[in-house]
Symmetry: C2
Subunit: 571 residues, 2 copies
Amino acid sequence: MRLTKLVSERIKDIPSGVVAKSHNLLLRAGYIKQVSNGIYSLMPSAQRVSLKIINIIREEMNKIDGQEVLMPVVMPKELWEKSGRFYSIGQEMVRFKDRNNHDMLLGMTHEEAAVHLCQNTVKSYDQLPYMIYQIQTKFRDEARPRAGLLRVREFIMKDAYSFHTSDADLQNYYQIVYQAYQKIFKRIGMKNCIAVSSDSGMMGGKRADEFQLLVEAGEDNIVICPHCDYKANMEVATSIVEQQSYSDGELEEVFTGKAKSIDEVCNCLNIPSSQTVKAVCYAVCKDSERIVICFIRGDKEINEAKLKKIIGADIAVKDLDDTLLIKGNIGPYMLNIENATILFDNTLKNGCGLVCGANKDEYHLKNLNINRDLKVEQFYDLAKVSEGESCPICGKPLTIKKGIEVGNIFQLGTKYTKSMGMTIQDQNGQQINPIMGCYGIGVGRSLAGIVEENSDEKGIVWPLAIAPWHIYLCPIRSDDEQVKSEAEKLYKSLSNKFEVLYDDRVVSAGVKLTDSELMGIPLRVVISPRTLANSTAEITIRKTGEKVFVELDNLTDALNKIIKKLEENNE
Amino acid sequence: MRLTKLVSERIKDIPSGVVAKSHNLLLRAGYIKQVSNGIYSLMPSAQRVSLKIINIIREEMNKIDGQEVLMPVVMPKELWEKSGRFYSIGQEMVRFKDRNNHDMLLGMTHEEAAVHLCQNTVKSYDQLPYMIYQIQTKFRDEARPRAGLLRVREFIMKDAYSFHTSDADLQNYYQIVYQAYQKIFKRIGMKNCIAVSSDSGMMGGKRADEFQLLVEAGEDNIVICPHCDYKANMEVATSIVEQQSYSDGELEEVFTGKAKSIDEVCNCLNIPSSQTVKAVCYAVCKDSERIVICFIRGDKEINEAKLKKIIGADIAVKDLDDTLLIKGNIGPYMLNIENATILFDNTLKNGCGLVCGANKDEYHLKNLNINRDLKVEQFYDLAKVSEGESCPICGKPLTIKKGIEVGNIFQLGTKYTKSMGMTIQDQNGQQINPIMGCYGIGVGRSLAGIVEENSDEKGIVWPLAIAPWHIYLCPIRSDDEQVKSEAEKLYKSLSNKFEVLYDDRVVSAGVKLTDSELMGIPLRVVISPRTLANSTAEITIRKTGEKVFVELDNLTDALNKIIKKLEENNE
């Protein structure tokens, strides 16, 4: 490819809202162009990367007997009514009426379509397990698209669906996909991509894992034990919280005046926040009468993802103005509120000597003893894990890292096959609902994630396996006749063996070298009047900055050797 | 691939509405499954074919320096307002509001997005010409989806856009694409795919060609001269119509009573229809006051596509009840109607001795002499070409064939670059709007078209280049231990060299042979107790039915030879 012909807009004045490294670099180096909020066009250079990622995914999916299919982007309401998701999914799903006034939707995931496709195709247990997958455009009307390709509304996704006769069989295949995913993320050049337990969210089902690329730009908080194998998304992570013990006494009202927040109360009474009981109130969406009051140790935060799962519905922070609750003075003792679900976090188990709201303006209670003063039937895991808490497996201190979710795998169970009436005949002649797994990878997000992980102050550093081109052919002084003719010759000969981007512009050496680094092509070959005087070219490895002069006659061999080495090291 | 594992629903009870051969066969052989009206899932076997077609298209687009990109499926209204098409395109374009109440649309073509992508990326004349393309899902809310994949609402399309500094440069590149298209359609196995002149429709621009696959199931009428190179879609086809001459006389009213239609008038007066003048009235959409009255020789039909172009707006047959026109007695003589555009077809030029309506109930006029009795400033080409009329190039008789439009190419001019303000600097330092071409291929429609062209009473006959598998390995008597173990061995060894579909079912020979033919795999390898007794296998070529027994030791060689021959003949 000649650079003068490459369709590629290098945006120099990066808009102020662009903070993510990958967003900035992909714009500056001419890889992507925004069409609308969260909607991008991929320029030729990005599409080359995307196709390479897709090919690697396809290869690995085929290796584990995946059968590629293509399901529709636009689907009729009826398909999604059966699973109940036409109504349960919110505004992130686009719905519209077609010209005949039929309700249609844009697929953001394809469990329903997958069951529809497989229904009646496979009827007997001995044909299972099998897996179908597709690589396709999806649209998800995200409330807050951000960070370029990291969180978009339209994206290319590989989604796969497997069908099983038994849970054991699903477990077995789940592991196979798990390993295929590890291979894929390694092959496309990710270094710190780990699998973590996660919430199954709107998919339903009982187990889910995410593949998280650990980089600063990540939106997800990943709880990791550096000592054992424990890894979990914050949404589902647990920890062992050290019990604090405080001297006990008689339950006693204490004047706290305007002190409402945990900090204010602690200051007022000169106690640590771990000695207080915090109340957090939520409204339940779709049930406006109901209120959820959570009590948790004052130094901990509520993990809303966990709470949602316990409640079984979406929740929102409750406005207390229209209730009898006294903001800042809510406590579990003698609390009597209609339509309230009251939940206690594990951190309060066996607590004593605690301070909580007195349900009376300007007053709190001292010396609350949970076992003595309250009747708590069940404690729940409601707390967000904090850095340094103890690992639930090995007890060592946990760390928290930022991650980008580049893939996920779910054990769906029979949620979809049951609701859509898909059955097969089992070994005993009985009709059963097959058990499903589903498996996604975001192609564009992986691309951007790789840029987050593989870049430096000069620009992108593409891993060889997905680099848009292998070699950046960079003649210095293209206006020099000898340089130009040698460059043209090299372009021809190298293009037979490698993917070459040829910087045929007549611009300064500085511009060319800077652009080659910004674009992140793994190898740069420079020729100039000086190198040609010695019949050499200079090869620079983008990743290490390592430079080597080689004779022009040996150029192909030298490049082959370097490429082989990069391939071996997955770089 | 083992057939027992293949996800594939063979529909035996074909719904009564299924008339197209490809629709029937693709359903019966388990290639596609309908999700909604005009919306299909591609089963694994069809996706394999689709990917092969896509790869061939991609290769040929890359060969002519196409740069692959990816533009969005969902686009904002603003982009389409600039070109005016947000309003000018009708219900076939899906519009919806996103969660922030912004107007969005589903792209059915991407001229606007292509200009948006290229705007500012290329700024100087010496970087032109260039072409970008994408292969992507599109949605078009067709009023009448039909015939399986032949006319759908959702489809995969390759669309390409080229940019030029001059019309001469566009002409030159247009020819290059033209030839690439011919290669593509040949490589994917089409035999009778021809390029014909066509209407540029909603694209605008001045020249357009369609690639029409000539098969019975086609919806388009293609006018072809078997003697010279003239080929055109009926929408734009012209012909030389022989002038009839009739004896002239005084213009004279004649009583025709209830005779209203051309047939009735001809019967009544005992004259041929070519001696009459037919009036056809249209309403102009978006201009309810205006009426268009077309006069044409009685034996000819109005070509509404041509008329639309002349009028420059959509038209619909006019209901005459609310006009002063007398249905069945409308004539051009002394016709005086407000807000009417009156057009005369070429077939009336120099006409004399004709019969036309008298604009008076129950009366017609005899002996109309166009030149004597009317003042016609301009005659237009309004007529549909009929079989047997003379070729406008060589004068020999024309034939009419049915065609499926599998591709199209357009010379767009500056319609989009102008309206969207895309400029580049020309050789003289002036800012000019680049001239565009655009080029489409329907992947799914091509797939179905190939089935229309390549099938027989037994099923599909895939051309080798796009066949889902090369070889159908078909053991007869799979319950026989020796057959089974030999089949498993062959499956392994053949899979290393070829794409093999292995019929590992324990079903009768009849079922297996019938299915292999229905699915259309180019080569079938049968082994049975009988062939194994002679250490042979039987190879059958699907297309010709030719059978040959070869020794098992020579099987790979024999298959290679046959495949090479098929490849050479593009079969």
